[in-house]
């Protein structure tokens, strides 16, 4: 690299970046933040879109996977059509479609579409009323932590009691009630912990509130709709793998349909579902790098794009980026393997 006069080392990490990023989850300013900070901004944006995408894709995927097995002809066919359509069209094409064909033609900020509850939709994204933590909201934080701990405790007690006695005691419901009541009481005693700001048109753009940029929206839509098609197939295969006799036996024992699903079908299906599901989560995370095509400031776009261009440290930056995704893949695979081991059949 010396022979090519390329920058060596990682000195660029502490240099001032000198460019701005539209969506930054941690404070970022062109004049003072470093390329290192830009890296973390990109990484957090990647994690954000991956986390949201995984939740949405899982919900939609399970819904469609179950719908595909429905006895209802129309529902089953529609779900099948969804799966075939979304998994046979390249993701990049879908992203460009959502971004350029659907979100772009939305009206300009001054002609925004007004949605209920003060939300606004225009070609700069969706602006929602935004919650901000009020000053002195620590009692609420405390209450939340306490409520979660108590709720979890009750749930575990309920589980143990059912295991021992066979009866569901409704302790879980008590836990839930407590988890809700505690923060509510705190809010009444100390005043609301959050104040909400409404989006307002000021100059060129809406300010205040919570803006979801069209790049994030398009990426989220594309990733979750695409991955949901694959998850649906995994869920279908998982459910089909549970032998019919299992359901019939459970029904013969007198279990109601919900309990059959909860205690017989789902635990067995999950064993088949989890390994390929892990793969899909990883794929979704890796596919989020397609952000570069639509300008969402994820790790690849910010770090392997802007930072690479400005510093010229191509080799270092590409390898760091690859390293990060590799690390995410390895950690996820490890975590999922552990869970999978817990869920697996314990044979004697």
């Amino acid at each position: 690299m010396l022979a090519r006069h390329m920058p060596l080392g990682f000195g660029f990490w502490h240099q001032t970046a000198g460019f701005d990023i539209e969506q930054a989850l941690i404070p970022f300013a062109a004049s003072s933040s470093t390329y290192g900070t830009a890296f973390f901004v990109g990484l957090l944006n990647t994690l954000l879109v991956a986390a949201l995408g995984i939740v949405l894709a899982t919900l939609l995927g399970f819904l469609i996977g179950i719908a595909r097995l429905s006895g209802n002809f129309v529902v089953a066919r529609l779900s099948a059509a969804y799966v075939e359509m979304f998994r046979n069209i390249p993701l990049l094409l879908q992203l460009l479609f959502w971004y350029n064909a659907i979100l772009r033609p939305l009206p300009a900020p001054r002609q925004s579409l007004h949605l209920p509850r003060g939300a606004v939709l225009n070609n700069r994204g969706i602006m929602l009323p935004g919650p901000h933590a009020a000053a002195g909201s620590w009692p609420m934080a405390l209450a939340l932590v306490l409520a979660i701990a108590l709720g979890a405790g009750f749930l575990m007690a309920a589980r143990r009691s059912r295991k021992l006695t066979g009866y569901a005691r409704g302790l879980g419901w008590w836990g839930l009630a407590l988890a809700l009541a505690l923060p509510l009481a705190t809010a009444l005693a100390f005043g609301p912990p959050l104040h909400v700001t409404m989006p307002q048109l000021q100059g060129f753009n809406y300010v205040h509130g919570l803006s979801i940029y069209p790049e994030l929206l398009a990426l989220l839509l594309g990733l979750s709709l695409y991955t949901a098609a694959f998850i649906a197939e995994i869920v279908r295969a998982g459910i089909q793998s549970v032998a019919r006799g299992q359901r019939e036996a459970a029904a013969a024992l007198g279990l109601p349909p919900v309990q059959i699903l909860r205690w017989v079908v789902v635990p067995q299906a999950l064993r088949v579902i989890i390994p390929p599901l892990t793969n899909q989560y990883l794929n979704l995370t890796k596919n989020s790098t397609l952000a570069v095509a639509i300008g969402y400031p994820d790790l690849a776009q910010v770090f392997m794009g802007t930072v690479l261009n400005q510093t010229g440290a191509a080799v270092q930056i590409v390898f760091i980026t690859m390293g990060v995704y590799l690390a995410i893949s390895l950690v996820t695979a490890l975590a999922m393997n552990l869970w999978n081991r817990r869920m697996a059949l314990h044979e004697r």
Partner: protein
């Protein structure tokens, strides 16, 4: 077992259900599939409502309001798809800037490639070894000569910067499978090697490539490759993503092939060796033919993924089909509200047809293979 098992079992008999509705013919089908109970009826109606809501605007956009003839001016205010845009840009979308008089060369290469793939992957056709030889050795050389040109043979040289469109997409797909299948097989064998160093190196390569996004591999190929090879090689701008695609595909292919190798009973190798076949011969004559046949559906699925992934090369500046469609869209002569959507729908149809056809074929193969090998 626990003596208190009675606790876990229902104490009351389940209520008797009403007998199934007796009906026949269409009525029975409707009853069973659409209106079995209140919930089912509700779902049916919601589904039908959904279709009723979606179909008319779709029909209007795609057919009745669409512009089928005319030049750029016809689409300026079109509320429907601008099909004339596709018709006018079709040569560009298919061949890129490849000189018009030479386009037959592209047609020949693509058709030959597909004929060979079908021959290779159809368990029913004979002489598949010959097909493999042709496809993996003769075809790439012939394709390179024909496409790039050989002045000695009277074929003008056509620079790769002029290549583009569907042709480049198919080329990337073809080269992907031509190089990733042998490479993947080699990696799979290496991963099962008895030598720890080889095993480790293969596993490292496979897991690293599978753990990173394709785009980073493309970046690596695009920016780094020229830095790490002698200047005189000057890897071509199209060759770099091809190498990236092949390496990426190989890592995934390796795992598919490894599955096939693992599924093969040990006895096969042992029997082959007992018959006095050399390790190489037993591999080539006994193990690989069987292992690869088992995983043909997996190979096809892996290839579908690779084919869809080739769209990413447009991000590193290659005019594949999607890249060409984006470039056509940027033409200032064609300004209309529906140009972008039309381009994407056309591209989507192309990819859908290719991928759906392949996946149906692979499903069919899977069913046939499950019923035992045909001889």
């Amino acid at each position: 077992m626990n003596a208190d098992v009675s606790r876990f079992v229902a104490r009351d008999m389940a209520p008797a259900r009403s007998p199934p509705v007796a009906a026949a013919g269409l009525w029975r089908w409707l009853r069973h599939n659409l209106f079995q109970n209140a919930a089912s009826t509700f779902l049916t109606l919601t589904g039908l409502g959904f279709i009723a809501l979606l179909a008319p605007p779709l029909w209007r956009f795609l057919v009745s309001d669409a512009v089928w003839h005319g030049g750029p001016s016809a689409c300026v205010a079109a509320s429907g798809a601008c099909w004339t845009f596709i018709a006018q840009k079709l040569p560009f979308l298919t061949y890129g800037s490849y000189p018009e008089a030479q386009r037959w060369r592209v047609d020949v290469v693509v058709l030959a490639g597909f004929a060979l793939i079908v021959w290779l992957l159809s368990p029913r056709l004979a002489h598949r070894n010959l097909a493999a030889g042709l496809f993996f050795v003769a075809f790439p050389v012939a394709a390179l000569v024909l496409l790039h040109g050989a002045p000695a043979l009277g074929l003008a040289t056509i620079d790769t910067s002029l290549w583009g469109g569907i042709f480049v997409t198919l080329l990337l797909g073809l080269s992907g499978i031509v190089f990733s299948l042998p490479l993947g097989t080699a990696l799979a064998l290496a991963r099962r090697s008895k030598l720890p160093l080889i095993r480790f190196a293969a596993a490292l390569f496979i897991e690293t490539v599978r753990g990173v996004p394709f785009i980073t591999v493309l970046f690596l190929a695009n920016f780094m490759l020229p830095l790490f090879v002698p200047v005189t090689w000057e890897p071509d701008r199209l060759l770099r993503p091809m190498i990236g695609t092949a390496l990426f595909g190989a890592a995934y292919m390796a795992e598919v092939v490894r599955g096939g190798l693992q599924a093969l009973p040990r006895g096969q190798t042992e029997a082959a060796r007992a018959l006095g076949l050399s390790p190489w011969a037993s591999l080539r004559r006994v193990v690989l033919p069987q292992a690869l046949t088992i995983v043909i559906p997996g190979i096809v699925n892996s290839f579908i993924g690779l084919f869809k992934d080739t769209t990413l090369v447009s991000i590193v500046g290659i005019f594949d089909f999607l890249g060409a469609a984006e470039a056509a869209r940027a033409d200032p002569k064609w300004q209309g509200p529906s140009i972008a959507t039309t381009g994407y729908i056309f591209a989507a149809l192309f990819y859908f047809c290719c991928c759906y056809a392949m996946s149906r074929w692979s499903q069919g193969l899977e069913r046939r293979l499950r019923h035992g090998p045909e001889t």
